[in-house]
């Protein structure tokens, strides 16, 4: 990109990070799928919007961790913070009969401020509506699933869903933003701002 822009009309958010791993006490041999969900004013300019990880097993030792170390690299441009991107993650694994079943859905907003951030995202599965359905789905290997994994990033229509939360996924982010200040947006916490000004008092601020 041209680094010097005098009158920008868009701002950029660059996201570098990874889906580090997961903590599902009852399940092993898991893989995850991710996709970014964003509003109409946003568009990805480079990087991958979605991906599937490898299948991971828990390690040995006293604190067995399930590690994916799965890279995330994407840059968005936007004219409006509304619709800020979220990452929607779904985790899958084998059941007793060897079928691929969903072990959790979860979503979190990409952090708003530049810097390093770690997010622990709780994962939930939709609950069966009756015990009979629960038993049949265990037998057939077809659990209740969302038809579109992006549903988990939306707020509407959740009133009628019953879910069970059963694990977490850890994601770390490194965020860089460009031209948010030039467009008038202030997302930096005040302590960080005053600390930066104290370090570099000679910088002139063109208004």
């Amino acid at each position: 990109y041209a680094m010097a822009t005098n009158n920008p009309s868009v701002f950029l958010v660059m996201i570098n990070g990874q889906i580090e791993g997961a903590n599902f006490p009852e399940y092993d041999d898991l893989y995850c799928k991710y996709c970014f969900v964003y509003g109409n004013d946003w568009a990805p300019t480079s990087g991958l919007e979605e991906g599937i990880s490898q299948i991971a097993c828990r390690g040995q030792g006293t604190q067995p961790a399930l590690v994916w170390n799965f890279p995330l690299e994407i840059t968005f441009k936007s004219t409006n913070p509304f619709g800020w991107p979220q990452i929607a993650v779904s985790v899958y694994g084998p059941d007793t009969f060897g079928n691929d079943v969903v072990r959790g859905y979860g979503a979190v907003h990409v952090p708003l401020t530049p810097g390093k951030h770690v997010r622990t995202v709780p994962m939930f599965v939709p609950e069966s509506t009756s015990r009979l359905q629960k038993f049949t789905s265990w037998l057939m290997g077809r659990r209740p699933e969302f038809t579109d994994p992006k549903v988990v990033a939306q707020g509407e229509g959740r009133e009628v869903t019953r879910v069970r939360s059963q694990g977490t996924v850890t994601i770390s982010f490194n965020i860089v933003t460009k031209d948010m200040k030039k467009l008038g947006y202030d997302a930096t916490p005040s302590e960080a701002l005053s600390a930066a000004e104290a370090r570099t008092p000679s910088l002139a601020h063109p208004l």
């Binding site: 979503a107 907003h109 708003l112 707020g155 959740r158 069970r164």
Partner: protein, 175 residues
């Protein structure tokens, strides 16, 4: 005109006597504020946690307000309800918190309370459930008519809210 973006989620709730909880939430503002995009109220899913005693909702909130004045800064109000296996809903707590007024990420813990009835009502509630509820939900976020209420503390709701301000500094506002 200054603008405010509230981008975050209602993470979950803990400290309630039972799990299988959901939350009805809304944002109330004064007359100078105008909602440009987003849903100002909603209801989360019902979560029944497998292993922990915290119910997780991860309910996304994305609101874009424009305002002509500082008065009536947005307040987020919540009602935590319990749904049992028969599908009956019981009120577990009311709570509210002001939306933070400084930019950046904020992790909030909103305390909740429940109205306490007479001792007969409490006894009945122990066996049958139910219990007194507020007739009008404004009491949750205003202080006006509270002196007649007798309440008991319930659990806490955890929220993660990111705040972006626009043009507030142009109008001389420091935050």
């Amino acid at each position: 005109m200054a603008e405010l973006h509230i981008i975050g989620q209602i993470v979950g709730a803990s400290g309630f006597p039972r799990s299988s909880l959901f939350c009805k939430w809304g944002v109330h503002t004064g007359g100078a504020w105008h909602l440009l995009s987003g849903l100002r109220e909603g209801q989360t899913q019902v979560d029944c946690p497998q292993a922990s005693d915290t119910a997780f909702w991860s309910h996304p909130i994305d609101l874009h307000y424009a305002t002509k004045g500082l008065q009536g800064w947005p307040k987020l109000h919540l009602q935590v309800w319990h749904q049992d296996s028969f599908g009956r809903c019981e009120l577990f707590g009311y709570g509210y918190c002001h939306v933070p007024s400084s930019p950046g990420h904020h992790r909030l813990r909103c305390v909740t309370w429940r109205p306490l009835g007479s001792w007969q009502e409490q006894l009945a509630q122990m066996f049958v459930g139910g219990g007194p509820q507020l007739r009008s939900p404004d009491v949750i976020y205003t202080g006006a008519d509270r002196y007649r209420l007798h309440t008991v503390a319930m659990g806490t709701v955890e929220l993660e809210l990111g705040i972006i301000l626009r043009h507030f500094d142009k109008h001389g506002v420091e935050s």
